[in-house]
Amino acid sequence: MNTPAPAALARFQDAFAHALLEPLAEPASTVTALASQPGFTVYRNTVMKGCIDALQANYPAVARLVGEEWFRAAATIYVREALPAESTLLRYGASFADFLARFVPAAELPYLPGVARLDRLWTESHAAPDEEPLDPAAIARLAPDTLARAILHPHAAARWAWFEEGPIYTIWSCNRAAAVPAPELDWRPEGALLARPRDAVEWIALDAAGCAFLDACAAGGTLDAATRAALDAQGDADLAQLMSTLLTAGAFSRMSFMHETPGRERS
């Protein structure tokens, strides 16, 4: 199949974009001579610095854990793999946690991908749509049989995760707040909830029951189903305390009800 030759401007941009990330321009391209001028380095440096600065801003707990030098060296490799797909750099680095999980020099830091995931959840919560959190009093007013049919909808800014691999939440929250972690970490699974109950992102530790409960709510399950999921995850869960914790944290935005007929829902 014949494809039309790209226009001169497009050829220029293909070659220029290539030369920004590669030490050598493609031979005999329209930008070979440009890339050898000293000023070309300004563009190379600015593009790389802009991407790395954005990653460092988006992953502050990771950067604090590994130090700026290590972080920026790792980020340089990531940028060459994955330039930003859009100009809102707040959202840059969606695959950074996955990158760290397969980044050989990070193999001795098994908690690093989890910490990166929490940094990412913070960003998602920070930029999520505005919604009023559900008023806890609305639940307190419900009769028990109505309560079982209630569906609690997670708030647009609520993010939660369970980390089987270790105390990721403790490590993350200490570094996010620039605090000093306890000298002896209790190495066991942890979960976390991030939400915006007021204007800014806030976070709390969340147990396995809480994470399972929110997973069930996000899947559209009733309070009854979410409660069963929580107890399956953690037999000794204190459900009254859990509900109070989630409501105070701003985990929900609104409530709807499953009809008596299974499978039908009304708001």
Partner: protein, 277 residues
């Protein structure tokens, strides 16, 4: 109220910016930093907009790319324009997004008939989507591009003629380019079409760490240089007052220091405004 000198708005200075009562003060942001669904960023911008005029200075429409502006990006920009009702909207004579990848810089291109036609089409698309006239900024230059068929001033004038756009004149970019490529900044500025200038930028630059004074970098991380102040004063003397931004993006001092630098530009603008009154 007449807009005189403005400042780049940075999160570190939100509280001070909100409270500042300086007459004629306005704030400029990169709209890309506020293209979010909700949350504290937008809330802050709206709070500041309730007290001060705001300018949206885009860096990512990529008008000089050989492609139409990304419709999703343009739609988000249009939504932000509706939300913020900015006093000014501007973009660059440059490209940054290409084949789906965003390069966070303002990249050069050969000024040819082909690129002029493409950019004019892109500026028209942007102005149609936003429902308003935008100002296009002259970029900094670091490269000798042999393929240029147009000089920059003629190119900008023709772009404005074809699209009805205005111009954003960055005096620091003119100075940096003149030093890097060896032309006269005074001649460039003396020939710049003053009637098209909607906004002016002045900023600090730094010598390249390896090459020193032979390569100046438009780094926005230092106070405005004396040579740029002199060019700016000469320009205002010729064309009159225009909203002028102290464009500081990096190595930020405290707000009071920026406000002091902004006061100098404000004073330069007050003289022609007083004469005109």
């Amino acid at each position: 109220m007449v807009l005189t000198a403005g400042l780049s708005l940075k999160p570190q200075h939100y509280n001070a910016a909100l409270a500042c009562p300086a007459a004629g003060l306005w704030f400029e942001v990169h709209p890309e930093n506020y293209m979010v669904d909700g949350g504290p960023r937008l809330a802050w911008l709206e709070a500041i907009r309730a007290r001060h005029a705001v300018s949206l200075h885009g860096v990512a429409l990529s008008l000089a790319a050989d492609a139409e502006p990304d419709p999703a990006h343009l739609a988000r920009l249009a939504a932000l324009v509706r939300r913020v009702e900015p006093a000014l909207v501007s973009e660059h004579l440059a490209w940054s997004t290409w084949r789906g990848a965003y390069h966070p810089d303002l990249l050069p291109f050969p000024r040819t008939n082909e690129s002029l036609a493409r950019i004019a089409d892109n500026v028209c698309r942007a102005q149609d989507a936003l429902g308003r006239r935008i100002a296009i900024e002259n970029p900094s230059h670091y490269l000798e591009i042999a393929e240029h068929a147009w000089d920059e001033l003629a190119f900008l004038k023709e772009l404005a003629r074809r699209t009805g756009c205005g111009l954003l004149l960055d005096v620091n970019n003119v100075y940096v380019g003149s030093r890097n490529l060896g032309y006269s900044a005074e001649n460039y500025l003396d020939s710049f079409p003053g009637d098209l200038v909607m906004e002016i930028h002045i900023a600090g630059h730094t010598p390249d760490p390896n090459l020193g004074e032979s390569l100046l970098v438009d780094s926005h991380d230092a106070p405005v240089a004396p040579a740029v102040w002199a060019l700016y004063e000469r320009l205002i003397e010729r064309i009159g007052a225009r909203p002028t931004l102290i464009e500081r993006d990096d190595n930020l001092p405290d707000f009071a220091t920026l406000l002091c630098e902004r006061g100098r530009a404000d004073a330069v603008l007050r003289a022609p405004l007083a004469r005109a009154a």
